[in-house]
Symmetry: D2
Subunit: 289 residues, 4 copies
């Protein structure tokens, strides 16, 4: 994170549902002179779980910024058995991008970063192929090549992890990275690796989904962004969208139309992630508005 | 309204934004042993207006149901200069439908009412043409005919208002009613008359939008549901959707494709309305999730 | 079919692609004084198959209507090894609807038939449950009940087939018919049974797709209409569409939102079918515009 | 154009509808040993205009490539009073981009050109502001600055026209170029200037459409690509699309969501244009599939 003195704070909370949670949290903030600017809560009535996102201004807040977490846990979190995370919007997260050979998502993300639409620090691109090195260089972003095969995979991933640590990377975006991360790798970044899959999951998981979609004769193709878990293409879905296709579209047309979806769906997922709008529970995402 | 003893209550609130609103409202409910099951708030940061929808269970609530409004106004509403409305979900609203000649929206709404999807009492259909009387009779709904022309309009509307009062109608749906309601009529049902317009407003207001859309050569056509105000097709928009069209579509094709949109967009608007999810401010709608 | 003297003819053709097909077909029509009003062709360049839909006016056509097929086969079809079908738009097809308990698709189709949007004769509704008998009666459509269980399935299907023959049914619509037709039954109506499945296939085939979609946490739900084949939910897809959902939607909300999709997607499929716009090849549909 | 020896030819045709057009055109090609690979025709039955796009392989075609136009006009075009255009897909068109300050569309088009998705030669970027010069330089594309004000507009446009001629530009893309081209300028590139407007026209023409959309409280925002004519934002529409918005979206959110639409809608228009899929008639586009 690249932090400056924060003006506001965000809490993402979930816990077993019971009476008094909203009142207790809002009172905690209000009594300490915080001004609530956003509150959305949601109850999964089947599983009896309470979810909440609350944002407040810190201007006159009586608890020092570095003590908010401790106080909140002691006074509120513990009592309600909460899982919670505290964020400060002024903290700019550090993002790494993993790519293989296809440039469209990489290009699109870089353009968004450069235009200030996606507010992240992007110090590092990792790839298993050299193809996109020139793009990284054009934008003066460090590029590290880790060719992967069966025998070197563990070793290469360890190198990548060291590098990510060194670059203080907060989260990873797989921008059409055509290589499966090991379960062990994933545990280092739980709900912090965003993948784009080129189908509307759970349809067409795995390789060559556009070819499968063509064969099946579907009338829409889709794209899905999700957090990566140990199960391939089965992690919590963040965003999906589709585009109509017809019998006149060849596989190449599906690929072309799909590229636009992939870019947009991945960008929306990154946006929600860095806005701290996403809460994961039970392999599903709550995306606050 | 057809009321039974309510199990929960809904408050829709808006007021000038300032500190402590959320905390005060949630404390009012919590201290009186209400269990908050839903809370969403929104601040229009440009206009500095605070909006909130809150729902809570009344099981052990200490304030008698018929006193909640009075207490809330005295203790909270007055202090924050709130505009608020209190609803009980068990109250089933009474809806009248206005139609002219086209059956598709009428049929669709009746089917939804019969299937229990739209929970309303539907005692009355009003029309300026006799064409759909048979549909009303098939479903045993009272049908009243009020042919309108320039000279009789005021008189006929007065008759309609009497009838609506007699039938204790809470809100009105214009299901392709091809007649403009007078400004005076509208004042009797502020934000309680839902219209479906067959274009994506503000494009193609007024008559024959599909013909205009065809002439303009648009590639999407739309439908818009909105609350009726004195200004034609300019009231607060509740819901909009579109469908793709192409050069192969004739005006008749646009009309056919548009019908499906009209039905769905109108039904969604009615759904949000009776779920008490809509708040109107400054000719815009806040639609809580 | 309910036929009157036709004013135009439609040919749907497919055959191995080679030179001269378009020229030969158009010359056949033109030389015999037919006026071509519609022509669309498509080549599957991978499989080297040629597809064509052509429509022409019969006003001065020199070949008698009942001889067109014979002449076309002799002069053109045979030469190019064509599979072709000849239709006359004035022939009104006879449709049967199969239902179980859910009324929304049935209601919607009947409303479209009554409004003249779907031009078919609808003489017969078949069901495995008595629930929707009242709807059939309201609209004076014959209703036949065939409860199905494992032991009587073959017998009941034979009765249904007799009935369909007796009513001279051209094609069948499964309007949320929750019973699998046997492979044997299906062979009697190849590409003439249209089903609506409540998911975007191939995701969530089989039972309870909305529950599965909820569990998986998808951000869009869909509906798929397809021709029924011996393989469950695997027949050629005619139409698909989707609607966005969010974490705030319960399974019941998905079901509610999905109903609107099902109605529209099924109606579009019926529309394309009776317009003779659909050609099936290799388990995929060509839908002419 | 950058031409090589073509393997196929495309004819775009429109003319008053009458009998025998399809047969005559297909016979012209077939008799001269051309192999038709694509044919789509469309009749505007209201205006009685015939439209056609036909593509054929030139391998054994008996008429020399540079004589096809002359022969076609003499033998067919004249007889049917056709307006027609002949293209060879191997000709790579030369495109200029006009920009002002916003980079997203420019970046997106360049990325598509670099990836080979859009097959054009892009020798020239023209701008009325210096902001995007760095982008042009990064990709080594000539950048020419023409600041425009009321007094110099005519002069500057003349300079631009000279430059376009010098660079042999075939068509122009206005990638959020915030300056109105004079009617005189437009006459030099009829149906050859593609603009992206940030609303679903005809709603919100002119300046600041996102602000207007926010004020009106619409539930969808759109983007429209169209050919530029002398009438502002009133030229033939090529492509439109929309995205849902809600009350939680500020004007800034609309702008952000709209950017993605603008990029995609503009890219689709360019794609159709260079595929020679677009025919303009009476201020409407026929977009062949």
């Amino acid at each position: 994170m690249n932090a400056t003195q924060p003006h506001s704070a965000i809490l993402l909370i979930h816990c077993p549902d019971r009476q008094g949670i909203v009142a207790s949290v809002t009172e905690f903030i209000y009594k300490n002179k915080g001004n609530i600017t956003y509150l959305e809560q949601h109850v999964d009535s089947q599983k009896r779980i309470f979810f909440m996102r609350i944002e407040w201004e810190l201007g006159e807040f009586m608890i020092p910024t570095d003590k908010i977490g401790e106080y909140f846990q002691t006074l509120i979190g513990k009592r309600f058995e909460m899982q919670w995370k505290l964020y400060f919007p002024e903290d700019i997260p550090r993002m790494a991008i993993f790519v293989s050979k296809l440039p469209h998502c990489l290009f699109d993300i870089i353009a968004r970063c450069q235009a200030g639409e996606i507010k992240v620090v992007l110090p590092l691109i990792i790839s298993n192929h050299p193809d996109l090195q020139a793009v990284a260089e054009k934008f003066k972003i460090d590029f590290h090549l880790f060719p992967i095969n069966k025998s070197n995979k563990h070793h290469q991933e360890q190198q990548e992890l060291s590098l990510l640590k060194e670059y203080q990377v907060d989260f990873i975006v797989l921008a059409r990275y055509m290589q499966i991360l090991s379960a062990e790798f994933v545990t280092h970044y739980p709900n912090k690796i965003i993948n784009i899959h080129h189908s509307f999951l759970p349809a067409f998981p795995g390789a060559r989904p556009y070819h499968s979609a063509y064969e099946r004769g579907v009338k829409v193709v889709g794209a899905t962004s999700h957090y990566v878990t140990a199960d391939l293409d089965a992690g919590p879905i963040i965003e999906q969208d589709v585009v109509r296709v017809s019998h006149t579209d060849s596989v190449q047309d599906l690929i072309r139309k799909g590229r636009d979806l992939e870019k947009v769906v991945l960008a929306r997922a990154i946006w929600h992630h860095i806005q701290r709008k996403i809460l994961v529970f039970d392999n599903r995402t709550i995306i606050f508005s």
